[in-house]
Amino acid sequence: MKRTMTTRRTFLASSAAISATGFVLGSANMLRAQEGKVLNLRLDGDNQILDPGYMVGGTEIEAQKQCLPFLAEYVRDGDAFTWQPTSYVTRLEYVDDTHIEFELTPSLMWSNGYGTLKASDVAYSYDRMKESEWSGYFDALDRVEVTGELTGTLVLSSPFAPFIMVTLCHGPGAIVCEQAVKDAGGRFTTEFPAVCGPYTYSATPGQRAVFDPNPEWTGPAPGFERVVLQVITEVQAAELAFEAGEVDCTELGPDALARYTQNPPENTAVTTAGELQYMWMGMNTEHPKLQDIRVRQAIQHAVDVDSIIAGAYANTSSKSNGIICPGLIGHRSEASYSYDPERARALLTEAGVDSLQVTLRTQNWQERLLAAQIIQANLAAVGIEVEILPMESGPFWEMGMEEAGDTWQELELWLMRFATVPDPYEATQWFISEQVGVWNWERWTDEEFDRLYQEGQAETDPDARAEIYTRMQQIMDDTGAYVWINHEPEVYAHRTDISIDAAPSGELNYRNFAQV
């Protein structure tokens, strides 16, 4: 028998050969987007928890919208957002201020042999949500009365105008299959126990999520047979993938948006989903340096917001005039102050301030730092010296919270951005008196503001609501504690031969994508 000897020479040769196999060119038949009726999209991270009660949000909501029933969905009405019943219901309407009746579409099947979609599934889902991590969305819901196999009534504990927009259209409004969830032990994570929608769902962690056709679906057919989402965490990498033709639609960052607006790649369209983010520079009204309202008003007049939007955001976002975002009831076209450095200097003189030094805290993101530097230059022009303090997300998000330490006492100026839902009530809730030391870091209270907050939720007339929220923003202006900056949009680039459907808050609804 011949024996094989391993020598240094054969070892080196073998190692070289093994390494070389790593470079064997693969198939030249690379996958390209738009082959057949496959939609290729980006996923910004693995979907961790698909259960609406315990989800993180974002793309998990996108997955729910493809595989689970909802009673209502967002619809754009000109520049505003409103709602419409989904294909899962034949009727959804307010019968009075606290009762919403629904009737489900018959014969819609759950997968895995769990039978048809029933009103009892709706009751189970929403009762379950009241005990979940997303229970806040169901505070207004008292109970669901099941009146028939397909009919029921959502009973609110008190009038709450935004219930359909905020709760039923959004991720927490997803309906799960009662029996399937019970069989799964009451909760689920990375797999749906049963689906009732045009697609089934599967995922390879770290790589992709795939939506394949659901053979049991009898509702409206989706525009694409199959949807493949590649996990691409960084938005810049997704933009490169879009330009390489490997995804058909991707979110754009401010830099890419500016570039695409001026010089779009071939066969590319840009769609704005919504502008439901509001950014401002806040001031601590209790800080000794800023206690005098004239100093705060001087800062309001000293900041040139237009130059921030041009310099830090390449004119890709709209100027903000308050916390109510464009497209929502109560959105204002102007604030009650304007850029006026002369007025700022006069106010400082009137307040007897001649050498003010303040600290501006911001998250260490590129656009925020640029915005902070422009503010620094603006305030220097009126004699206020600003030290910029860039911060990592962790300490930034708790610096104004009393329970997280004493930093709230040292806060002077900061750049802040909140996201909201398509109803004005949500944005106002963070500034009521009981939020002082929680999210109201400006630390002011106003009885009228608190009263209007309650009235705004109960009021159902849109004009009356608009008046309420306009007045609330005026009260915020009058505190002198805010310089409104901008509303950053959720923008998507996509192929021109594809129409997309994005919720105002940016979640994509793949089932409504279509080839045009």
């Binding site: 790593g22 693969g26 198939s27 690379m30 390879t204 590649q230 390489a244 990592e392 962790g394």
Partner: protein, 313 residues
Amino acid sequence: MLSYLAKRLTLSLIVVALVLLLLFGMLYMIPGNPAILALGTRATPEAIAEYSARMRLDEPVVMQFLIFVGNAFHGDLGTDVFSGRPVTEVIGERVGFSMALIFSGMGWAILLGIPLGCLAAVRPNSWIDRVTGVFSVGTIAIPSFLVSIWAILIFAIQLGWLPAIGAGEPGDIGDQLSHLILPAFAIGLGWVGYLARMVRASMLEVLSEPYIRSARAFGLPPRKVTGYALQVAILPTITVIGMGFGGLISAAVFAEIIFARPGVGKMIFDAVSDRNFPILQGGVLLATGFYILVVLLSDLLIAWFDPRVRQSL
């Protein structure tokens, strides 16, 4: 040899324990409430409390460390706080992609860098030496993330020859290999220049040794003389390659992010951002173990190549 191995393994265990201890200490120094970062800024107090309990954040750090080490000895690295899946399973899904990237990246760098260094050394001050010198310094100086972006722009977007993102269709080896080319190129390019410079310097030193002059005087063919010289000159390079393999697990993070590939480096990066401590601990444990293993293997390889080292063990 066996006693040497036993000593090295004991030392490795001590290093792993120290790294984990350091990691646990550092986790507590990261500012910010991990529960708020993980659950979002609007998380309810109940959700924060439940998350803290799930992550054992409410227990003393020493207790957390002992529980982790005890479980790790039984192969249990805990569960992902978000999905509830075992950490070993999450790591298992990614480790293959990282290894493929690291070995192919370093593999092509070795295949090109060592011959380039040899060529430059046997023809000092020739045009090939000068070109190698410029190429080496150039590739060492360019960061791998920049190479990654340019590689995508040129080979995926402009020329359309290679895919830009992902790891390829599961089960399709050809597709997976085509997805490996650009990331491997990006992380290996700097190493080509580095290895070429190292081998050249080492070879020049060895080629001036008396025994090489003697070999030449005896009329041995130049190729054979170069082979003998390389056997000695390669020893410091093997050590560097060993450490390089270990370091690539973190260097690959950029490539994994830009090329949207799954991998252990990116998993650790995401775990830091999400404050997903079990995944972070498991990932660091794996990276440390891998580093220790490749350094040990490179030491053993040197002993195999060099009888002087072998006899001293």
